[in-house]
């Protein structure tokens, strides 16, 4: 589905990875009901605080 050099979306740069979405737009739109949007979890990167990283 995805690759760096020669993927379906035509990527040619090894630094970059392209991924073609196989779902139809209508399918994605139908998936996101107001309830699912409201319940979606924040995706977050929290690294250990400075003190923790010094102690470990």
């Amino acid at each position: 589905m995805h690759s760096g050099n020669k993927d379906a979306a035509g990527s040619t740069d090894d630094a970059e990875v392209s991924h073609r979405v196989s779902q139809a737009p209508e399918e994605i739109l139908a998936y996101w009901t107001p309830e699912r949007m409201a319940e979606a979890v924040p995706r977050d990167i929290r690294l250990p605080a400075q003190k923790e990283s010094e102690e470990n």
């Binding site: 979606a40 924040p42 995706r43 990167i45 605080a49």
Partner: protein
């Protein structure tokens, strides 16, 4: 030599990703709160001399009764010269009480911006939310966000990826724009290297229009000087925020001194989870984006870090904007 372990080693093969859920904390029960309140007020109070018996305390007159009497005396005796009250040098005597730290919010509430919005997607069966921004592109259909909002880093790409520009209080005034393709640096998709925590999505046309036709698009810039003053935007959703409205932070970018190898810059900011992927604009305008909200330290971070957009991220952008 004291061993000072940094995150460099632990992040070499991937990131420690902490996912916080909205409203995930367990509230205390009413019973335990009531019990705590009942324990407070039952300690008897008495002076060392024993003068203040409970009966004397109950019989004591309110101080304002004495104040009324003092005002009456003043009126009966005539006014004294006001100079005696008003003169004297300004004087300040330091106390010994602990300094009170005034906590200032490190964000500002914003009105919706049409080209900035929320991103919804699914990874490993979990529905997530981030932030994103419509950026200038040859295809006029490109959204910039964080790498961890398009790909596990390292790992799979997201499904059900959709951009909701101008989101405000549950409304989608400019529609919802599903992704046709997702793009990230190989360093992110294969190694989870946080230096490349940026992703792009090419979205489908909606109602025959491109995203840029509908909401406009910010310019982008790369390899800019470090230490610029930035304004970042996002939809923080983890407590104390609710994710329903747009928020911003403003500050001068400083290097990440905890993990300088990340090459990231941070600005003063208390936005929480959900703001990831929100755009950074230098020089106080929204004309040119050159980073995204990426990571913070600890559970109550006051600095938001963003990746330095250099030549690799420019290559990812350039490839995506032509799709």
């Amino acid at each position: 030599m004291t061993s000072k372990k940094t995150l460099a080693g632990s992040l070499s093969t991937g990131l420690l990703l902490v996912v916080s859920a909205i409203g995930g904390a367990t509230a205390s029960s009413a019973t335990s709160q009531d019990a705590t309140q009942l324990q407070v007020a039952s300690t008897p109070v008495s002076s060392p001399q024993g003068y203040w018996t409970p009966e004397r305390m109950r019989a004591a007159l309110p101080g304002d009764v004495l104040a009324v009497k003092a005002v009456a005396r003043h009126e009966n005796q005539g006014s004294s010269p006001s100079a005696a009250v008003a003169t004297g040098e300004p004087t300040r005597i330091a106390g010994t009480a602990a300094q009170t730290t005034v906590t200032t919010a490190l964000h500002a509430d914003e009105n919706p911006v049409p080209h900035i919005g929320k991103v919804f997607f699914t990874l490993a069966g979990i529905n997530y939310v981030c932030s994103g921004n419509s950026v200038a592109a040859q295809n006029r259909s490109l959204v910039a966000t964080a790498g961890h909002c398009v790909n596990e880093g390292p790992g799979a790409f997201a499904t059900n990826w959709v951009f909701v520009p101008g989101y405000n209080k549950g409304l989608s005034p400019y529609g919802q724009w599903p992704a046709r393709s997702l793009h990230a640096a190989r360093n992110w998709t294969s190694g989870g290297d946080i230096r490349y925590d940026t992703g792009f999505a090419v979205v489908a046309r909606v109602g025959g229009k491109t995203l840029a036709d509908r909401v406009g698009a910010s310019g982008v810039e790369f390899s800019q000087p470090r230490g610029l003053t930035y304004k970042s935007y996002g939809y923080p959703a983890a407590a104390p925020f609710t994710g329903t409205t747009l928020v911003s932070c403003t500050g001068t970018a400083k290097d990440d001194t905890i993990n300088p190898q990340f090459n990231s810059q941070g600005i003063s900011c208390d936005m929480t989870g959900g703001s990831s992927g929100g755009p950074w604009f230098a020089r106080g305008d929204t004309n040119f984006q050159n980073s995204v909200n990426s990571y913070g330290y600890g559970t109550s971070s006051t600095t938001m870090f963003g990746p330095f957009w250099g030549s690799t991220i420019m290559k990812v952008y350039d490839s995506a904007q032509r799709k």
